[in-house]
Every structure is written in structure tokens, then in C-alpha cells.
């Protein structure tokens, strides 16, 4: 059987942690799940940002591996800094949406190489019907006199630090919920029985850096999306 050491350890860790007490999901409740793509996520700090924001807010959440998720128990699935989105993660996202969960999918492709960007764009287009444009550098000459904040309009107005590069959204169905420099960079739309929230500008690094506005936005998003304990 072709299995890498990393993958085996991933399975083993999933089995072990599934039996541990702590921030696991209550069998009778639906909660927040953080899907860690490991090498598929390009900013570890983004994952750390979501973890610290959820923990400091006292939210009920758990970290999951795509292969070991129980979709029916997931109210909100967060996918930080996605770069490569492997098939099990795609299946987890689609299953959660079909089961009625909200999925916050954060793209981390702004700094990626062209080849990685194209692969990312294909997965978003083919499996989630999200259309993105090529990354835009918000600081092209490094001499800007103003900060290109990301202005969110839903679920609450919020102004969050940019992360230097964004992937703007193409024309498509759904409601644009954030813009930066006039570019649409986040949307929400119904998908299956659930709701997809796509972020083209990473929020995780701002959470990680302790940005209070970013944290309030996330928690409001979780409440609106139905994450119990949020």
C-alpha cells in the first residue's frame, strides 16, 4: 500500500486525538472545525491566527484532518490560507456545504508561484464555482502613503489590515462582502444547504497579530453562520 510516513502519522494523529478530551465537538452539538491543510496551507501563521482567536474567545472548536471529519457535526468549517487544496479537503468542504454548514475558505495564493496559482484557481472553479483573478500587489512601489485596508460589509462593517497581495474575485453569483482599493476580495453565497464565505485576502495573519477588529469580524461571522459556542 502506497502510504507516506507523513500521511501515516497524520492518520495516527487523527485517531489518537479523536479520543482525547478537550476542544472536541460534543456528539450532540455542531461546532466550529478548523481544517488544517498542513503543507497545502502556505501560512502557518494563518492557522495559528484562527486558533488563537477561537481559543481566546472561548469558542468551541476543534482542529481536523480532512480524512477524519464528521461533516454532520460541523456548523462552520474554516480553511486557513489554502494554497493546494487536495481532493480529501475538497470533499470535506463540499460535504460540509451539502450538510448545511458554513465554510470560510481563505485563499493563501497571493504569494504563490504562477503554477500553484493556476492549480488553485482550477480547483476553486471546478469544485466550488468560485472565480478568481490573478493576484494583485497592493504595495507595488513600496511607497504608498495610505494603507489599503480591507473593508468588510458583512456580517458587520470591519476594516482589517491588508496582507500585501489579494486575489480579486471575478464576476459571479453571490454577494461581495469585502473590497480593497475597489477590488472585490470576499464573497458569500449559498451552496448546497450551506453557505460559502470566500476570502481572497488572508484574515489569519491579522488574527495572529492580535487585530481586534479582525477577531470581532470572525466571531460575528461564526455567530451568524451558526457555530455554537462562538
Amino acid at each position: 500500500m502506497g502510504i507516506t510516513r507523513r500521511r501515516f502519522l497524520g492518520y495516527a494523529a487523527g485517531v489518537v486525538t479523536a479520543g482525547l478530551p478537550g476542544p472536541s465537538l460534543d456528539a450532540t452539538r455542531r461546532g466550529c472545525v478548523l481544517l488544517d491543510l498542513n503543507e497545502g496551507g502556505c501560512f502557518r501563521e494563518s492557522v495559528s491566527g484562527y486558533e488563537s482567536a477561537l481559543t481566546s474567545a472561548g469558542a468551541q472548536w476543534m482542529r481536523a484532518d480532512a480524512l477524519w471529519m464528521v461533516h454532520s457535526r460541523c456548523a462552520v468549517l474554516m480553511v486557513p490560507a489554502a494554497l493546494e487544496i487536495p481532493p480529501p479537503a475538497v470533499r470535506a468542504i463540499v460535504s460540509c456545504l451539502h450538510a448545511g454548514a458554513s465554510v470560510i475558505l481563505e485563499s493563501g495564493v497571493g504569494f504563490a508561484a504562477d503554477r500553484e496559482f493556476r492549480a488553485h484557481r482550477v480547483v476553486l472553479r471546478d469544485y466550488l464555482q468560485v472565480h478568481i483573478e490573478e493576484p494583485v500587489d497592493l504595495w507595488p512601489d513600496n511607497s504608498s502613503q495610505r494603507i489599503p485596508y480591507v473593508d468588510y460589509t458583512w456580517p458587520r462593517p470591519a476594516k482589517v489590515r491588508d496582507f500585501s497581495r489579494v486575489v480579486p474575485l471575478g464576476r459571479q453569483a453571490g454577494e461581495v462582502i469585502a473590497r480593497v482599493d475597489g477590488l472585490p476580495v470576499a464573497l458569500k453565497r449559498s451552496s448546497g444547504r450551506g453557505r460559502l464565505i470566500f476570502l481572497g485576502s488572508p484574515l489569519g495573519p491579522a488574527l495572529w497579530a492580535g487585530d481586534a477588529e479582525a477577531r470581532r469580524w470572525l466571531l460575528d461571522c461564526l455567530r451568524t453562520a451558526g457555530g455554537e459556542g462562538a
Binding site: 502556505c42 501560512f43 502557518r44 501563521e45 504569494f111 504595495w139 513600496n142 504608498s144 494603507i147 489590515r161 496582507f163 500585501s164 495573519p205 495572529w208 497579530a209 492580535g210 487585530d211
Partner: protein
């Protein structure tokens, strides 16, 4: 205390060996090697050539005081782009590797850059995350990482207590401060930095600063020892108070317009006066 000066002070047309002769004749005990700043010491310089550099330093009757680099100004550990951060980490690792080859136990790095684009809180966190594993690697090699206080240029860790807290957060005995007494400008007093950091000081960079002059064109705020606003008797007193007996490394930004070798002699004499306390 021992005196050293950076090899980036050597006039480029002189070459390394002639420069070493000058450093020795001027009265220095050692030389600071700047990775990436001179033709003879680049990231791509193989180990065999680094060993050859050491042989030349030995032959000149000198030792390597420490390895420094300015490469982190272009590729900081605090960059948002993971590829840039990876390059920054590689620079530190190469500094450690070459320090071992060159027989020294200290390296310098500029830990992070706060910019309009990359805010302070991100820089702080990213530097911690980078330095913790780097500290472990350095410790295994018997090398200490000295994070330089580049206050005004770096816009990071501006006060000594801030720097102290940062080192506490890194929490590695192999990560300390490479203190530059010229970089504090009018945001504080070098002698207080020395008192606060004491045993955490890996090396001390010496230069003087004109605190009331802003950078203007090619006019430097930095100047030769005793020409600026540093309180040198207080700095010397603080070194004694904390028992600092390590390397003093001259780092002159403004160069003599004529007779560049004279700056080496003048700097060495000034450092002798500082060490002897005859101020």
C-alpha cells in the same frame, strides 16, 4: 576588551589580504566578516573558500570577531512572503555555519523590519517564530545570535525594555543582543541599554551619532568616535558596571574622503582611549 573592525570598511580595490594587513597594522585584534557585503564572502562562497579566509586571517595575526550581514535588510525574517522568509532563515543558517568555520561564536542579524506595509505586531510575532528554532540550531553549533538594535532604521524594538521583553519571549540563551551604541540616536541612552542587557550582549558595535541631524541626501547621521553626541564616559562606565569584556567592533558609516587607511588608525586609537577609560 578586544578591538575589531568590519571587513566592509576595507577599500574595495585593496582586496582582503591587503586589508587584513592594514587592520593588523592599525592595532586591531580581530576582524568582523560581513556576509554578502564583500566580494570575498558571499552566500555562495563554498566552505573551502571560507576556510581559506580563516587561514588568511590567522596568517595576518588576527582572529574573526564575529560574522555579520546586511542581507536581512532586503530579505527580512519578518517578510510576509514565505519565500523571502525562507531566504532570510537560510542567511542566518549560513552565518552560523560560517561562524563555526571561521572559529568565532557570534553572529549578527537585523531581526525584523517594521514598514508601512508590514506592521509591528506581525513583525514581532514572525521574528519570534523564526528565532526560536534558529536559536536551537545556533546553540547546537556553539554560536550566539546577536539581534542588532537598528532602532531608527528598523522601527522595531525601539526601547531597551521592549528589546528585553522580546528576548524574554524568544527565550533562548543562544539569542541575545548585538548592541550598537550609535543606533540609539535620541530615542534613549546607550549606557542604559548596556546596563539593562548586560550578559545578553553578544558584541558591541561602536560608532558615534549626531542625534540632532536627520539623514539628508548622502549626509550620514553617523560619525567617527568622539565627534558625535554619545556620552562615551557613561558608555565606558556601563561596560564596567555589567562586566562587559568582549569584542568592541568599529562600524563607521561615513568614510574618510581621502587617505581611507587613516580612518583605521584613528579609529583604533580612539577605541584604545575608550577601553583605557582616558576620556
Amino acid at each position: 576588551m578586544k578591538k575589531a573592525i568590519g571587513d566592509n570598511m576595507i577599500p574595495k580595490e585593496w582586496g582582503f589580504e591587503k586589508g587584513l594587513e592594514l587592520v593588523k597594522q592599525a592595532g586591531f585584534d580581530g576582524i568582523e566578516l560581513w556576509l554578502g557585503d564583500t566580494p570575498w564572502f558571499q552566500m555562495g562562497t563554498p566552505d573551502s573558500e571560507v576556510r581559506e579566509l580563516r587561514r588568511k586571517v590567522d596568517n595576518a595575526g588576527l582572529v574573526v570577531s564575529n560574522v555579520s550581514t546586511g542581507l536581512h535588510w532586503a530579505s527580512p525574517l519578518s517578510a510576509r512572503d514565505p519565500k523571502v522568509r525562507a531566504q532570510a532563515v537560510r542567511v542566518v543558517e549560513r552565518e552560523v555555519e560560517t561562524a563555526v568555520l571561521l572559529g568565532t561564536d557570534a553572529i549578527l542579524l537585523v531581526a525584523g523590519l517594521v514598514t508601512p506595509e508590514v506592521p509591528y505586531n506581525e513583525v514581532y510575532q514572525r521574528c519570534l517564530e523564526a528565532l526560536r528554532p534558529l536559536g536551537e540550531k545556533a546553540a547546537r553549533s556553539g554560536v550566539r545570535i546577536g539581534c542588532e538594535n537598528c532602532n531608527a532604521e528598523q522601527r522595531f524594538l525601539i526601547s531597551p525594555r521592549e528589546f528585553w521583553q522580546f528576548l524574554n519571549d524568544v527565550n533562548s540563551p543562544a539569542v541575545g543582543i548585538h548592541l550598537d551604541v550609535g543606533n540609539i540616536h535620541d530615542t534613549g541612552f546607550a549606557e542604559q541599554w548596556i546596563e539593562i542587557h548586560g550578559p545578553r550582549i553578544t558584541r558591541i558595535h561602536l560608532k558615534d551619532v549626531m542625534t540632532k541631524r536627520g539623514r539628508c541626501g548622502d549626509q550620514s547621521v553617523y560619525t567617527n568616535l568622539f565627534l558625535g553626541d554619545n556620552n562615551w564616559p557613561a558608555i565606558r562606565g556601563a561596560m564596567s558596571k555589567v562586566g562587559y569584556d568582549g569584542w568592541l567592533v568599529a562600524e563607521m558609516e561615513a568614510r574618510y574622503r581621502y587617505a581611507p587607511d587613516q580612518q583605521f588608525y584613528d579609529t583604533a586609537r580612539a577605541m584604545d582611549r575608550l577601553i583605557s577609560g582616558q576620556l
